[in-house]
Amino acid sequence: MKFIAKGNKWYYGWLALLSVLIISGILSYMRQIDEGLILTHMRDQVSWGFYISNFTFLVGVAAAAVLLVIPAYLYNFKPIKEIVLLGEMLAIAAIIMCLLFVVSDMGRPELGWHILPILGTMNFPSSLLAWDVIVLNGYLVINCIAVFYVLYKLSLGKEYKMSVLWPIIILSIPWAISIHTVTAFLYNGLSSRPFWNASILAPRFIASALCSGPALMLILFQIVRKVSKMEISNAAIFKIAELIAYAMGINLFLFGAEFFKEFYSGSVHLAPMEYLYFGLHGHNNLVPWMWTAFIFNLTAFFIFLRPKTRENFLTLNIACVLIITGVYIEKGMGLIIPGFIPGVLGEIYEYGPSAIEKGVALGIWAIGALFFTLFLKFALPIYTGKLRFNSPDSSSERGEHKGAE
């Protein structure tokens, strides 16, 4: 598509950067396929690592992007339609990344079809992973339908019908909550891992996702309104910032509750928490990260809470970055690794991602970013009415979108 291929030097530079990262990711993945997951730093003691951490964080992003629809609707924001569409496109990109991370973590990805119903032997409803496959793919389909419908109608110069769109949106909201809840239950249901086997896990998942997802959206809104004609009012941005403050308040409170329970009762199940925040028997790889996450989250909370700082774009953006980083640490490595440290036989194996894991992960992030960039590039002009399709037989504008790279 010619329209996607056109852009200024920043656009080309961005695409080139993503392409390099994607190619290096693919090369890393090919080595991993060839030699096995031995190239990662995961071992029997810590059997899930960086891939599953990224997966968990991104499920939160996917869920929260659509959950933004609720405040947008409740407060009757003017640019609600734009917010919905952007949220759904972000959700699609995030889910694609989620699926890629899970596939990268599999020992035999070529046998992935075994997990499908009918074709394979899906262990439903017993396995929460089977539930996750259903809700994640369902969520992907719902969002694809919504986005495709809107763009298709608009591209023909017709107004889309809210009567068609609303049921989809209404379905996607509880579905967004479900993907995050099911993902939390995936860990939560394992009695062998005391750190995960706490009822506070799912609520904390939702609370922290409602911080990182909207924070990411706030940054994207600002970029979008700078580079396109789409109007997103300051009022909408500040309102979302305020909502992030409440979500982070709840997240910090739940964290405090967890912290108190573990440290005051001081049972043997304290060990993973101790490992995270103070180190265990001299092993303390994650300690600086966890305190960084805590300080970032706390700082961002106060920035978002004070009207003066959240309505200043400099401090607002700083807080967004702080909160995304904070939640990425907390809901990524900070959640997955302590499930395995100490291990079920008391072993402490310190884990950190290998070069291959980092390469693959960066590649997947780049794929997600590329998808989202192309979605935007294609959708925004349609949205603002700049791009329209005419009769089916004029072929003058046909082009390959490979030209962009």
Binding site: Y11, I115, G346, P381, F389
Partner: protein
């Protein structure tokens, strides 16, 4: 990001076909391309779940696997798929007061069950505890990597841990593809051709009994055991999970043999038998000794009993 300096402000036009084409192209690029052609590769790819195969399908799979192994290891394998013996439920006993921590069981198991030597996989972990330390449920004070001049070490005791063959196995519950299940004789097995390597079972197992083939398993030719069971000690693949099967290739035969770990134990600390037979040695131990099972609070109900002889 779109170029803001458009010379014409009028709406750009593309036709509908190219919109659909572009969308299809985008979706199509998500599909993973496949490029293999070998017939046996395809047969392996579409092989059915062990429990869904009928007699003749299973036989043809076994023949194909024997050919594959012959090609790969240059040796003739005998793959059995002997089913559970009616009226049998296997149980295991381990006398903690006798174990001297020599780890002979660990290596006998590796030898018998064709575990990878490089990287090493052990189905049995022997933990060493200092007398007076926390143990049984909390292994934090234990060490698996003890390396003294001679065992047993003064002031220490040992506890070997392997698959506890739970009656209520958390690993089976979580497997997304039903690639692992409990057989009628109580043994939890894995179909290595059905496992997708997601490792959810490893996260779920409270005993660290499940092991993953992080790399292609490597065994010296002269150390390979060619008497194998489909659900047990046949050579595994890179990227699948494996575990103790109470030596299914020995214990289900008639005449049966004890698991390799029971056979090798120099102090007779290991007991094995049929839980459903009131006359069995394992039943005697359970009824007459002070027995305990690991992590009882998790309700996994292991069929692996630790006891004290003295």
């Amino acid at each position: 990001m779109p170029n803001k300096s458009n010379k014409d402000n009028c709406a750009r036009t593309i036709n509908r076909r190219s919109f659909l084409k572009g969308t299809a192209l985008g979706l199509g690029s998500l599909a993973v391309p496949f490029g293999t052609s070998d017939a046996s590769t395809w047969e392996a790819f579409f092989q059915k779940h062990f429990k869904e195969m009928n007699e003749s399908e299973l036989q043809s799979v076994i023949t194909r696997l024997e050919e594959e192994y012959a090609r790969e290891y240059d040796m003739n394998f005998n793959i059995k798929a002997t089913g559970p013996i009616p009226g049998v439920k296997f149980g295991y006993g381990l006398d903690v007061s006798r174990c001297i921590g020599c780890r002979r069981c660990v290596y006998a198991c590796v030898q018998e069950n064709n575990q990878s030597r490089e990287p090493q996989i052990h189905w049995i972990s022997v933990l060493e505890f200092e007398k007076g330390e926390k143990w049984v449920n909390i292994f934090e004070e234990a060490t698996k990597y003890y390396n003294p001049h001679a065992v047993p070490e003064e002031g220490h005791f040992y506890m070997p841990i392997q698959c506890q063959q739970c009656e209520n196995p958390p690993c089976v519950k979580v497997c997304p593809t039903k690639a692992t299940w409990q057989e009628r004789d109580g043994i939890t097995v894995v179909d290595y051709n059905w496992c997708i390597g997601c490792r959810y079972c490893m996260a779920a197992c409270p005993y660290g009994a499940r092991h993953f083939n992080w790399a292609k398993p490597r065994i010296k030719k002269k150390e390979i055991n060619t008497e194998v069971h489909y659900l047990g000690n046949r050579p595994r693949y890179k990227g699948v999970v494996e575990k103790c099967t109470f030596c299914i290739q020995r214990t289900r035969e008639n005449p049966g043999r004890y698991p390799a770990c029971v056979e090798i134990c120099p102090v007779g600390a290991r007991k094995f038998g049929n839980l459903l037979d009131p006359e069995s040695e394992i039943r005697y131990c359970i009824e007459h000794k002070r027995v305990f099972r690991l992590k009882e609070d998790l309700n996994t109900s292991p069929k692996f009993y630790y006891f004290f002889a003295t």
